[in-house]
């Protein structure tokens, strides 16, 4: 507000003189009755502006007085939420304290909605499950969604509005914003730049568009660390229009992936895993299995479940794509180099031709646009479009924005006056070459809106905390475009704002009610009447049913081949591939302890990232696991320990992103090396690099140290052909039965007999079950030092073995839970009887009886028991979890106590008691363990063996069914279905050889007895020294 000018004094005096009676004035400005004062008032108190202006009526005065009197006492209370809360004196219908409730909402996976059901205990969300109705999840749940509950209660979350690092009230921000807005209005937004992350929310997009309409010269930039830009560019080049392909793998007979980890890291991965593996399960369909070919550099879970995996450096994938396209009759693609692998190429091409149009090719998001164009061209040529592939408009609207590089340039040039960063963290996860952080200094007004006070927030003048998705009213779209809703499970713990509120602040300078903002958007969009009922329906479903994007029809442009850029030269000696971390993704989950401690599917590394190198490279450079190397890209370098991963190309190394965050919080502090520092702007995902040993050594926190299966028949695999010839190949003869009579379990008569079957044909090793178990069963995290000592606490683990040649082995996954042996070896050795068998077949742990002799673990052949070596929970723990996240139905274990998988006994008890109270039997499928419920591929089947119609009882009779270590006569209740692969007979590969060997149960000599700490391929001993 402008100060008074001297020339006004005269008129002021005159003004006062002219008045009669008692007159109060608040300031000289008011006295002057300048129009600017009115404007100032409107700005300062926008909400009360109308009230201020309204004439004062007698009735109104009385009303206000009465209200003031009535509300005076409330000032001592905490601010009440503006929405209706649940008053327990007046119990809502159907709510009983102690009974958890489920609400449909969505979790955001890099912006894409995964429909979830949030389980809340007395208004406190503790567990997310997949929403069975939602097309992206179909009831399954991924690790990120599961772990987001922990992030909700993260004490390091942004807790207040901050101005230059100091806590400030939000209204200060609005006041400051006011002058900015005026400036923007004056210049039509010139110099204003908005950076967003991925943007799939229709309502947010509308707000953003409104904002850009208000200030048309403002610039909109995107920054998504792991984006799909090259896919959009590729489809643009091919079809002339940007599309997002959505796959229907259940219709495919042959699937080819070119460096695409679509079972783990592409939008829709849960659904894709479900669809693909449904066609690869002999238990449902044993006459034909979907065949999967994968060509990739870094081994991924997709490559691990493939029938044929081609080890290929990331920058050579494009050559393979060109050659494959040429082999399939797409002319005009230059593929100058000799075929990379003739046999592979022709076998894949033949298979694709034979099975067209029931085929699907997928290209990795980190591959250049040309690969995407070629792959989609092949899909189109083979008739996959409309069958296994549908093209929809891109779900993520941020692809329309300008890239970040342009903004940094403008910032450097001083063209940007105001910078608003929303839901993105470019200061950490932009390519290091870009130098975003330095360029930031050039911008006079900077503001950050996000969930955490992260690296970017620290650079900004203003930081506005955003709500966690579980505190938010919002919407988002799923991988197929389905509109999904987010509703809050809990009042914002730290008073954050939803995105819509923040946009409202930007646009109008006011806060707005988060629910009203969202409803208003949809009410307007919905148009016709009875919106409320529909709204309630949508909220109940967690989404708007049948709102998937309509498939468009696409056709390649003529001569699209010519538009493709030349393939990059591939003569680099060593190529560094950067890839998102399977657990931390782009680094946003770095402060989440569950994810930090989640063993990565292939490396079983926790906490740290390591440079993945091939055994041959390790041998050539004399490197062992944990040896620190200096990895250099151009002038930038990081020092990082190496991890030797068989299956890596010999001339390629891989480093995962998301580690080494300086500003994530206490959990992430000092963990890992920041790979973004090496990232280039032009070629972000694969670049020439060099490495040299530093002579240092760092011990890595891995949960599995031995990688060969030592010819033991723990995992049984055969090819489809073998399976057809000998369906009972997995049945191995047990050498000798027990000499003693078997009292158990015949004497244990019970209504139920719980059992579990794990289908190794389905398991993709994605870890969803591990996180689900952690969330459900209050499993603590122990930190890197304890993991290094072999003390991780996961109740379910996924064993991963390499089979075959050292350089290019097959991988197999095997989830291992407590086997609940009928002749449990743990039970008879416990001196205090702390582990006992229940009548229904559970091997139960009595925590308060346990004294911690650990004899049970010593005697467990499966080693599934976990011990609380220290106080891992509560305040004393190094990594204590917030109490609020703990499932109230599961005991929190104390120091010195053994624990293990219980088959989710709390769920068993709740469901069986519910059924009993209702006087009925338990329905099949009503009771699910946490791991089973969350499994995207339905690999885990749990149920009652006493029921003849239960799926688990049916599978126990299946010819593929076998019990691990059955010869010990421990009679495990958790058993397995042998894996069946479907290799192409035209490719004589290790898979076939392995399968044949497995079937005939011969000793093999090619098993890679592999010792990671030594560069040699030591066949003796076999474990880490």
């Amino acid at each position: 507000m402008p100060p008074m000018k001297a020339s006004n004094w005269q008129s002021l005096r005159g003004e006062l003189d002219g008045r009669r009676g008692v007159q109060y004035w608040r300031s000289l400005e008011e006295l002057a009755e300048q129009p600017k004062f009115a404007e100032f008032l409107a700005d300062e108190f926008p909400r009360w502006h109308a009230l201020w202006e309204a004439p004062v009526a007698r009735r109104r005065v009385l009303k206000l007085m009465a209200a003031s009197l009535a509300l005076a006492g409330l000032t001592g209370c905490e601010n009440q939420p503006e929405e209706r809360i649940v008053p327990y004196v007046d119990m809502p219908e159907g709510l009983t304290p102690g009974i958890p409730r489920q609400y449909a909402t969505s979790a955001l996976i890099d912006g894409y909605a995964h429909g979830v059901l949030a389980q809340t205990h007395e208004g406190r969300p503790v567990k997310l499950e997949g929403n069975p109705e939602h097309p992206s999840t179909l009831g399954a749940c991924d690790i990120f969604s599961q772990a987001s509950v922990l992030s909700l209660y993260d004490p390091d979350r942004a807790s207040a509005v901050k101005q230059r690092g100091h806590v400030a009230p939000y209204r200060n921000f609005l006041t400051d914003l006011q002058s900015q807005r005026r400036a923007w209005s004056a210049s039509q937004g010139e110099g204003l730049a908005i950076v967003t992350g991925s943007l799939t929310s229709p309502s947010e997009l509308a707000q953003l568009q409104a904002l850009l309409a208000r200030w048309p010269r403002a610039r909109w930039h995107r920054h998504v660390a792991v984006d799909r830009g090259s896919l959009y560019d590729g489809t643009q080049q091919l079809f002339g229009t940007t599309v997002e392909p959505v796959y229907r793998f259940e219709r495919a007979r042959v699937v080819v992936s070119l460096d695409a980890d679509f079972l783990q890291s592409q939008p829709g991965f849960l659904r894709y895993a479900r669809d693909l593996m449904a066609g690869r399960r002999p238990r449902d369909n044993d006459n034909a299995l979907t065949r999967l070919y994968v060509a990739e550099a870094t081994p991924t879970i997709t490559g691990s479940v493939a029938d044929h995996r081609l080890r290929l450096r990331a920058d050579r994938i494009e050559i393979l794509a060109r050659q494959l396209a040429t082999a399939l009759g797409i002319a005009g693609l230059k593929a100058s180099e000799p075929a990379l692998d003739d046999a592979w190429l022709s076998a894949v091409a033949d298979d694709l031709r034979r099975q067209a149009p029931d085929v699907a090719l997928v290209a990795g998001d980190q591959q250049p646009a040309a690969v995407h164009a070629i792959v989609q061209a092949i899909n189109h040529r083979l008739g996959a479009y409309g069958n296994t592939v549908t093209a929809i408009e891109p779900v993520d609207a941020s692809h329309r924005a300008m890239p970040l590089a342009a903004l940094v340039e403008a910032m450097r040039a001083g063209d940007i006056d105001s910078l608003i960063v929303m839901g993105s963290n470019p200061a950490y996860n932009a390519p290091g070459e870009l130098g975003f952080a330095e360029a930031c200094g050039q911008v006079p007004w900077r503001c950050h809106f996000g969930e955490t006070f992260d690296e970017t927030a620290r650079l900004m003048h203003w930081h506005i905390p955003a709500t966690h998705p579980l505190e938010t009213w919002s919407d988002a779209r799923a991988h197929d475009g389905t509109i999904s809703l987010l509703q809050p499970m809990i009042r914002p713990l730290h008073g954050g704002l939803t995105s819509l509120q923040f946009y409202r602040g930007l646009l109008d300078g006011v806060e707005g009610d988060p629910r009203e903002l969202l409803m208003a958007f949809w009410r307007e969009r919905d148009g016709n009447g009875d919106f409320e009922a529909r709204w309630r329906r949508w909220l109940h479903d967690g989404m708007i049913a049948d709102s998937a994007a309509a498939p468009g029809s696409v056709a390649p442009q003529p001569n699209w081949q010519n538009a493709l850029p030349e393939s990059a030269p591939t003569d680099a000696e060593l190529v560094l591939q950067l890839s998102p971390d399977p657990a931390l993704w782009d680094g946003r989950h770095a402060n989440n302890g569950w994810l930090q401690e989640l063993p990565r599917p292939l490396t079983k590394l926790t906490w740290d990232n390591a440079l993945l190198i091939a055994p041959a490279l390790a041998e050539a450079r004399g490197l062992g696991e944990g040896d620190v190397v200096r990895l250099a890209v151009g002038e930038r370098h990081v020092e990082v320990p190496v991890y030797i991963l068989p299956g890596m190309p010999d001339d390629s190394v891989t480093l995962t992103l998301g580690h080494g965050r300086p500003g994530a919080g206490h959990v992430a502090e000092g963990i890992g090396s920041d790979a973004y520092r090496l990232q280039r702007v032009a070629t972000r995902w694969a670049m020439p690099a060099s490495l040299e040993a530093t002579g240092e050594h760092r011990e890595l926190a891995t949960t599995q140290n031995h990688h060969a299966i030592e010819d033991r028949d723990l995992i049984r695999v055969a090819s489809l052909e073998t399976y057809r010839n000998n369906p009972r190949f997995a049945q191995h003869e047990i050498p000798h039965e027990s000499l003693y009579p078997e009292p158990w379990p015949a004497e244990r008569k019970s209504q139920y007999a719980w059992g579990m079957v794990i289908d190794l044909s389905s398991c993709i090793g994605c870890n969803a079950c591990v996180t689900a178990c952690q969330a459900e069963n209050n499993i603590p995290i122990v930190g890197p030092e304890e993991v290094k000592r072999g003390r991780e606490m996961h109740w379910i683990r996924i064993d991963r073995y390499f089979e075959g040649p050292l350089d290019d082995p097959q991988l197999v996954f095997q989830p291992v839970t407590c086997m609940h042996c009928e002749n449990a070896p743990c039970e008879y050795v416990c001196p205090v009887g702390a582990t006992q068998h229940t009548a229904s077949g559970l091997n139960a742990m009595v925590y308060n009886r346990c004294v911690g002799t650990r004899y049970c673990s010593q005697n467990c052949p499966y080693k599934v028991r976990r011990f609380n070596w220290f106080q891992y929970t509560g305040q004393e723990a190094t990594y204590s979890l917030p109490k609020a996240v703990q499932n109230p139905e599961v005991t929190v274990r104390a120091e010195g106590v053994m624990e293990k998988c219980t088959y989710c006994v709390q769920r068993i008890m709740r469901r069986t008691l519910d059924a009993e109270l209702e006087g009925r039997g338990l329905n099949e499928g009503e009771l699910q363990t946490a791991c089973q419920q969350t499994c995207p591929t339905r690999a885990i089947v749990f149920g009652d063996l006493n029921r003849e119609d239960s799926e688990v009882a049916r599978l126990k009779e299946h010819p593929l069914h076998y019990a691990m270590l059955a010869n010990l006569n421990v009679r495990p209740r958790t058993t397995y279905l042998a894996a069946v692969t479907n290799p192409n007979p035209a490719l004589e590969s290790s898979t076939t050889a392995m399968a044949v060997d497995q079937a005939t149960h011969k000793a093999r000599t090619t098993v890679g007895h592999y010792t990671p700490s030594a560069p040699s391929t030591d066949t003796s001993g076999g474990q880490r020294a």
């Binding site: 031995h706 064993d799 291992v816 205090v832 009887g833 004294v851 002799t853 004899y855 052949p861 270590l965």
Partner: protein, 452 residues
């Protein structure tokens, strides 16, 4: 055991001189400097043990080198080792008494004391190794309101009783054998305090014929009971391992194998103490090279028995046809713990062959060295059994390495210190040789009867 005509006692030794020499050691002589040095060292080590225990109870059993799959570590190794050491003490007292071996007379007292203190050390570890040591009494069959009893099928319960009984028995046996000597000390003491002290402990022993008759009877009964205890305590502890289904633990040969191993280390420790104490207190004429010779023969006997057990263990692993068992063996030879296995073989099977030579058996310094290596070898044997068996058992995905931590070593060396501390105090307040047994030996010689 053949009895050689060489004298176990100096010719000129009489009742009076013997009694004076032994009792003066306690009552009238000042402690030698070596004793003081040893006591200070042992006291410091004991202090270290106390610190380790304090840290253990305040932070958790995780301070030890333990993990999944190797959830038993040094505490279990040390328990078995200490129990083994204790055994020779009991055996010398009991079995040699029953079989009337006269050479035991000069060494049985400190052998018994050694047994007593070794059991104290052994009994301490199972408690330290518990996750929740404060609830150790859950292993007891005490009447509780929920009718909970221990789980009788678990060898750990048997263990608890075996060790407790052994402790009670050994202290009783030691005290019994001290009674006549305590009376001697009471009578010869000149200080008021010493007189009261030994008078109370002597329980009114007057040396009457009735006393002696009852004493002899009671000693023989205790000795007869002791023999099965020697076999069962280690046997039961070995069942902790062999009752399980872990390859490398599950061998039926374990009870006799462990008993032999226990006696091997026990005799080694007796030899060790004999050499040390006789030089510390100038008793070379009473603890002679002949005694060392006998001890050496016992060491050789049990060393060979242990070596035989090793071969049988390997044979069983091969003959079982079980890949898992065979693998455990191959892993012991070639895996990360291979140095432990080969050192054990070197100590227990190779070095022990030196004892075939009389010169070695009769050399104090050689016996001292062999006693040390044998004890080390037996410790390594327990180490490799406990560590290697579960570190690479059935499922390769679980295989992991585990090494003892600094706290493990603190607790181990601390227990050595505690053992030494107690033993050093014992030899200063109790006669370190059994005066009445020695007198009986002299009497035997005088009587011209040498019936062994």
């Amino acid at each position: 055991m053949s009895h050689e005509p060489q004298p176990l006692l100096p010719r000129e030794l009489t009742h009076a001189r013997l009694t004076q020499r032994i009792s003066d050691l306690v009552l009238h002589q000042r402690s030698p400097l070596g004793w003081w040095i040893a006591l200070v060292i042992c006291a410091l080590l004991t202090l270290m043990l106390l610190v380790a225990i304090w840290v253990l109870f305040s932070t958790g059993v995780g301070i030890f080198g333990l993990n999944i799959p190797v959830a038993w570590g040094l505490p279990i190794v040390n328990t078995i080792w200490w129990i083994g050491i204790a055994h020779a003490g009991t055996l010398i007292s009991a079995v040699l008494l029953l079989t009337r071996q006269p050479w035991r007379a000069s060494i049985n007292r400190f052998a018994e004391a050694m047994a007593m203190f070794a059991i104290v050390c052994a009994g301490m570890y199972p408690l330290l190794h518990l996750g929740r040591a404060e609830f150790f009494y859950y292993l007891l069959p005490y009447p509780d309101t929920m009718d909970l009893w221990p789980q009788w099928r678990s060898p750990l319960v048997w263990d608890f009783f075996a060790i407790t009984m052994y402790l009670v028995f050994t202290s009783l046996f030691l005290f019994m054998s001290l009674l006549p000597d305590l009376a001697t000390l009471r009578d010869r003491a000149t200080h008021r305090f010493q007189q009261y002290f030994y008078a109370i402990l002597a329980l009114g022993w007057r040396g009457s014929a009735t006393h002696w008759a009852r004493y002899e009877k009671a000693t023989m009964i205790l000795a007869a009971v002791a023999t099965p205890i020697v076999v069962t305590v280690t046997g039961i502890i070995s069942l902790d391992l062999s009752v399980s289904i872990v390859p490398g633990y599950h061998f039926t040969i374990f009870p006799p194998y462990f008993v032999c191993g226990a006696l091997f280390s026990g005799f080694s420790t007796v030899a060790l103490l004999a050499v040390l104490l006789r030089s510390l207190f100038g008793l070379r004429d009473l603890v002679t090279d002949i005694h060392l010779d006998y001890l050496g023969r016992m060491m050789l006997l049990f060393g060979l028995a242990v070596t035989y057990a090793y071969t049988q263990e390997m044979f069983t692993a091969w003959y079982s046809g079980e890949d898992y068992y065979r693998y455990v063996y191959i892993d012991r030879w070639t895996g990360p713990y291979a140095p432990v296995w080969w050192s054990m073989i070197f100590c227990n099977a190779v070095l022990i062959q030196l004892l075939w030579f009389k010169r070695v058996r009769r050399s104090g310094i050689a016996m001292l060295c062999l006693a040390l290596t044998s004890n080390l070898g037996m410790w390594l044997e327990r180490f490799q059994i406990v560590f290697t068996s579960t570190h690479a058992d059935y499922m390769p995905a679980n295989w992991d390495i585990n090494w003892p931590t600094g706290w493990d070593w603190a607790a181990y060396f601390g227990s050595l210190g505690l053992f030494g501390f107690l033993l050093l105090l014992f030899v200063r307040i109790m006669p370190l040789m059994s005066m009445h047994d020695m007198r009986a030996l002299i009497a035997l010689r005088r009587g011209g009867r040498d019936d062994g």
